[in-house]
């Protein structure tokens, strides 16, 4: 018990100041999906089932955090000219590991996710954070930044899945939650449902947290 308290306070101590701002900025104010409109492809494709959504989010967070921390650790040694291939090589290595992991332990989901796990390699969120943040910040800050952008992606995907799976299948995580008489709304299962769902969330997100508009110089 005492151990836990110490651990928690140590984590809290670590999670403050610049670390916290860096992370929270990625989760909310600079959310990759509804603010930067990045990573939309997989967000549209995998959100009709909550289980697939969670696996995809976990995979993205893992790759984002691991790859960016290593890119950050190597930033002093990476020759400028090979920056891009270094980043892609590191990202690709982790994506292949995650892909193998999902195929080994969540085979059904791996068939449904299809190419989208492999496509994390070209996910704009990871490439964007690698180039814009990891390549010029400390490993510790990069950790919080990557975790934040991964969580920001996940929050929106989970919200969309929370709407699509119940309306499209009448279930959540495979369990029936709507009465048997409910007529499943097929549109929600198909790509247009994702567009509508994501559109609604981008709208809500932008309404709740309006973008800071820099004033044009007079």
């Amino acid at each position: 018990m005492a151990d836990q308290v110490i651990k928690r306070s140590a984590l809290l101590k670590w999670f403050k100041g610049k670390n916290a701002t860096t992370m929270l900025e990625q989760v909310w104010a600079e959310n990759p999906i509804f603010r930067q409109i990045l990573g939309i492809c997989s967000a549209l494709a995998v959100t009709n089932l909550m289980k697939n959504t969670l696996i995809m989010c976990g995979a993205l967070i893992f790759v984002n955090v691991c790859a960016n921390m290593i890119i950050s650790a190597l930033r002093e040694f990476t020759p400028r000219r090979t920056r891009m291939i270094t980043q892609v090589l590191i990202i690709a290595t982790f994506v292949i590991i995650v892909d193998l992991f999902i195929k080994a332990f969540a085979y059904e989901a791996s068939k449904q996710l299809g190419a989208y796990v492999g496509l994390i390699i070209t996910n704009c969120i990871i490439m964007g954070r690698a180039e814009a943040f990891a390549s010029r910040n400390s490993v510790r800050l990069t950790f919080w930044d990557a975790l934040g952008s991964g969580l920001g992606y996940s929050v929106v995907l989970i919200a969309v899945a929370l709407m699509r799976e119940p309306l499209g299948f009448g279930t959540l995580l495979g369990y029936r939650i709507l009465p048997a008489g409910f007529v499943e709304w097929q549109l929600m299962v198909l790509p247009p449902g994702a567009f509508i769902g994501l559109g609604i969330f981008i709208w809500i997100g932008r309404a709740v947290a309006p973008e800071k508009v820099e004033e044009a110089p007079k």
Partner: protein, 221 residues
């Protein structure tokens, strides 16, 4: 010059580390993946041939050893290679030995409406009638083409002839609902014209190949 050398050393070192990591991950995880593929293939042969006690739910929960053991007990692959032409399923006698032949199963696979569809079709020992069909891979529209996985629809296949009436040309039709259907046609799925047509197309191509192979095999026995 020094700088160029550094770039090369850096990239080579990084590549080696990445390759080493992937080798380790692959040697640990790939066998598991192969097991999953084997479970799916062998399990679905059991389902298609209606081996007692084996359905979709059982295949998902059973251990790989259980599936392998059952498969080896009831099923013979012809020829005994990694990708056999077809499988022969046997009854199990009370003393644990192989009994009579219950039927043949072969893999059906091809392009569906959205993505690849794969499954197995099983026919009786006389190679005249369907005894079962199952699919394990598809990305068809949920609620429409995805209905090929519904047990109710798959049940309508059982007992269908695999030849055009009065001929020995193998052909099974997946045709619109109408009265007085010939014995070799099943009802298509309403609203999934493309999926029904796609299945009909690749299934008949592979059915024809299977019938030729199984007849040659029987003649050689």
């Amino acid at each position: 010059m020094k700088e160029r050398l550094y770039v090369i050393v850096f990239v080579v070192l990084l590549g080696l580390v990445a390759a080493a990591l992937l080798t380790v991950a692959n040697s640990v995880l790939f066998p598991k993946y192969e097991q999953n593929v084997e479970r799916e293939a062998k399990g679905n042969v059991l389902i298609a041939l209606s081996i007692p006690g084996w359905d979709k739910a059982r295949v998902k929960t059973a251990t790989i050893e259980e599936i392998k053991a059952t498969f080896d007990k009831y099923i013979v692959a012809v020829p005994a290679e990694e990708k056999p032409d077809f499988y022969m399923g046997y009854e199990l006698k009370e003393d644990g030995t192989k009994g009579d032949l219950v039927g043949y199963a072969f893999k059906i696979t091809g392009a569906g409406f959205w993505d690849r569809i794969s499954g197995f079709l099983a026919v009786d020992p006389e190679v005249e009638k369907v005894i079962g069909i199952t699919f394990y891979e598809d990305a068809e529209t949920p609620g429409l083409g995805h209905k090929i996985n519904e047990p109710e629809w798959q049940a309508t296949w059982v007992g269908r002839s695999i030849y055009r009436p009065g001929t020995d040309e193998p052909w099974i039709g997946i045709t619109p609902v109408r009265r007085d259907k010939p014995a070799n046609e099943v009802d298509a799925i309403s609203g999934a014209t493309e999926t029904s047509g796609a299945v009909q197309k690749f299934l008949n191509k592979q059915l024809k190949e299977f019938v030729e192979k199984v007849k040659a095999y029987k003649a050689g026995q």
